[in-house]
C-alpha cells in the first residue's frame, strides 16, 4: 500500500476501513519481563496494537519504550506512549529515534499526570514542551525529516502519530476544539478517555463530525469494563475528567452477587456495538488494565475477532 505514513499495522487496518481494536498494558514496577510477556500473550492476535503506558500517574515503571521494544520482539504491535512530564526536547527527540530504530511504529503523545500524583513527588518538573507541541514535533520529524531546530535527520522516524482526547473534561465547550487542535497539529489517530456517559459522547461526536474532524483523523472510542461497584464509585468521584452516569452505577448494583463484572462487560459490549455504527468512530480502544486475560473473551463477544491481517 502506498502513501502510508508509518506502515504500522494500526495504520493499515484503519486505512483499509476496518473497525480497529486497540488494547492497553501497563509495564511492571520492575524489570519483570516474564510477567510482561505473559500479559502480551493474552493480547496477541486479539487487538491491532497495544498501548504501553509511560510512568502512568507518575508512578515509576519500566519505560514505555523498553516495553515496546520487548513487545516488538514478541510479535505484537506496540503503541508507544510518551508523556511530556519527564523529558526535555533533547531526550524526547532522542527517544523517538530510538523507538523507531527498535521497530516501533505508533506513538501516542501526552502531557502526563503531574508528578505530585505519583510515587516520586519530589522530582523536578520538566514539561519542556506540551503534548500539542510534541504532536507537531513528531510530524515534523517524520514528514520534513527535521529535528526541532531544523537540522536534517539521518533516516527520519516514520511513526503513526496519536493523541488522547477527553470529551468529558472541563471546560466542556473547549474539548472538541482541543481535539481539533491536536488533529491540526498532526495527530493521525485519537484515543479517547474511557466513556460511560454515552449521551454526552454522542453530542461530542456530532460536534466533531460537524467540524469535519472525523475525515482528517481516525477516532477510537475508549472503553473500560467496570469490574465492581467500588470501581464505578471510585471513578465517578475520584478521577477528574471522568463521568459515570448514576444509571450505570445502579445497573451494577442491581446485578446478582458475583455477576457485577459480567454486567460491566455487558455494558461495555453494548457500547462497542453502538460505536461500530456511530458516525466518525473508527474503532475502539479497550483499556482493561490488569484484566488483559479477559480481552480475548470481550473481543470475541463483541464480534471483533478475528482481527484483520493486512499485508
Amino acid at each position: 500500500m502506498d502513501d502510508l505514513k508509518s506502515g504500522s499495522n494500526l495504520e493499515k487496518v484503519l486505512k483499509a476501513g476496518h473497525f480497529a481494536l486497540t488494547g492497553e498494558c501497563g509495564p511492571p514496577k520492575g524489570a519483570n519481563i516474564a510477567h510482561l510477556k505473559e500479559k502480551f500473550a493474552h493480547l496477541k492476535g486479539m487487538v491491532d496494537a497495544v498501548n504501553l503506558t509511560d510512568n502512568q500517574t507518575a508512578v515509576v515503571r519500566l519505560s514505555s519504550w523498553a516495553a515496546s521494544a520487548v513487545m516488538v520482539q514478541e510479535g505484537l504491535e506496540p503503541n508507544f506512549q510518551m508523556v511530556c512530564r519527564d523529558r526535555n526536547r533533547l531526550a524526547i527527540q532522542s527517544d523517538i529515534l530510538g523507538v523507531y530504530a527498535l521497530g516501533v511504529r505508533n506513538m501516542l503523545c501526552l502531557s502526563g499526570d503531574h508528578q505530585k500524583f505519583g510515587n516520586h513527588p519530589a522530582a523536578k518538573n520538566v514539561y519542556d514542551i506540551d503534548s500539542m507541541q510534541l504532536i507537531s514535533l513528531v510530524k515534523k520529524m517524520r514528514d520534513e525529516g527535521k529535528f526541532m531546530n531544523d537540522d536534517a535527520i539521518d533516516v527520519p522516524p516514520r511513526l503513526f502519530v496519536g493523541a488522547a482526547a477527553n470529551p468529558f473534561a472541563e471546560p466542556f465547550d473547549f474539548r472538541v476544539y482541543r481535539m481539533a487542535k491536536k488533529i491540526a497539529a498532526g495527530a493521525d489517530f485519537i484515543q479517547t478517555q474511557c466513556i460511560y456517559n454515552m449521551d454526552r459522547f454522542r453530542t461530542f461526536m456530532k460536534q466533531a463530525v460537524d467540524m469535519g474532524l472525523t475525515e482528517k483523523c481516525h477516532i477510537l472510542a475508549g472503553v473500560t469494563p467496570m469490574k465492581t461497584v467500588g470501581m464505578a464509585n471510585y471513578m465517578s468521584k475520584s478521577v477528574p475528567g471522568m463521568e459515570v452516569p448514576e444509571s450505570l452505577i445502579k445497573r451494577l448494583k442491581g446485578a446478582e452477587k458475583g455477576k457485577v463484572a459480567e454486567e460491566g462487560i455487558k455494558f461495555c459490549l453494548e457500547q462497542i456495538e453502538e460505536f461500530k455504527t456511530m458516525k466518525g468512530i473508527a474503532g475502539v480502544h479497550l483499556m482493561a488494565i490488569e484484566w488483559e486475560h479477559r480481552v480475548p473473551e470481550i473481543a470475541e463477544r463483541a464480534g471483533l475477532l478475528p482481527r484483520p491481517v493486512i499485508a
Binding site: 511530556c84 502531557s111 503531574h114 519542556d128 507541541q133 472541563e170 471546560p171 487542535k181 477528574p240
Partner: protein, 224 residues
C-alpha cells in the same frame, strides 16, 4: 513581590545553636509587604529565640535591626560598623539578602531565616499567590493577561490538559486551573478560535534554564 515563608523555629534554632550573640536583620522590601521579614517579624522571632534560650538556661543575646533593602550594596554597607560584633547574623530577607550580606562581609556567618518561594501578590490579606515564573519572555498578552507558564502546573502553552475539576487544578484544590480561566475569558470575548493557533515550544534560554541571569543596563553602568 518576592514571597517567602519563615523557616521553622527548630530549623532556625539549629542554625544558631552554638551562638551566644546574634543579629537578626530584616528588610523593608518584599518581605515586609508579605509580613515575613520586616521589623515586626524580626521582633517576634527575636523574642521567640530569647524565650527559648531562657528556658534552656542558655545565654543568648539577640539584637534586632532592619535595612531598607538587603539587595543593594549601599544599604548592606550600613551594617559595617556592627557586623563583626556577633557570632552569626540571621537575615530575614529573601534569598538575595543573605547572599549580598555574605559577599560584603566574608568573615561573618549568615543564615537565612526564610524560605524564598515565588513572585506573587496578595489575593487577600494574608494570602499570596504565585503569578510569575521569571521566564524572561513575557507573553501574558497572548493569554488575556494570564500567565500559563507560572500558573499552569504543567506550564502548558496549549492547554487545558483536561484534568481540572470545577476550575481547580488536578493537583490541588487551592490552585485555580489557569487554562480553565483562559478558555472562559476567550469564550466571554467570543475569541475561542484564538486558542486554535498552536503556540510553538518555548525558548527557555531566557529563563533560569539558560543559566544564572544578569541584567545589564549600559546607559546606567558607570565606568572609570
Amino acid at each position: 513581590m518576592i514571597v517567602a515563608d519563615r523557616k521553622s523555629l527548630s530549623e532556625i534554632q539549629d542554625m544558631v545553636k552554638n551562638c551566644r550573640k546574634i543579629l537578626l536583620v530584616g528588610c523593608k522590601g518584599c518581605v515586609t509587604v508579605c509580613n515575613v521579614g520586616g521589623l515586626k517579624e524580626v521582633q517576634i522571632l527575636a523574642a521567640t529565640l530569647r524565650i527559648a534560650a531562657k528556658m534552656a538556661d542558655r545565654p543568648l543575646i539577640v539584637e534586632e535591626t532592619v535595612l531598607e533593602r538587603q539587595c543593594d550594596p549601599e544599604y548592606v554597607a550600613i551594617l559595617k560598623p556592627v557586623v563583626d560584633n556577633y557570632d552569626a547574623v540571621v537575615s530575614m530577607a529573601c534569598g538575595v539578602g543573605p547572599q549580598f550580606l555574605a559577599e560584603a562581609y566574608p568573615s561573618q556567618r549568615f543564615f537565612p531565616a526564610v524560605n524564598t518561594t515565588f513572585f506573587g501578590g496578595a489575593v487577600a490579606h494574608g494570602i499570596w499567590e504565585e503569578r510569575c515564573a521569571g521566564c524572561g519572555t513575557c507573553v501574558i498578552h497572548h493569554f488575556d493577561g494570564m500567565c500559563p507558564v507560572a500558573r499552569c502546573s504543567k506550564s502548558l502553552l496549549n492547554g487545558p490538559c483536561g484534568g481540572s475539576d470545577h476550575g481547580k487544578c488536578e493537583i490541588s484544590k487551592n490552585i485555580n486551573c489557569i487554562w480553565d480561566m483562559i478558555v472562559r475569558k476567550k469564550v466571554e470575548l467570543g475569541r475561542l478560535d484564538d486558542l486554535l493557533n498552536i503556540i510553538p515550544a518555548k525558548n527557555w534560554q531566557t529563563a533560569r534554564d539558560g543559566g544564572p541571569r544578569q541584567s545589564r543596563r549600559e546607559e546606567l553602568i558607570q565606568n572609570g
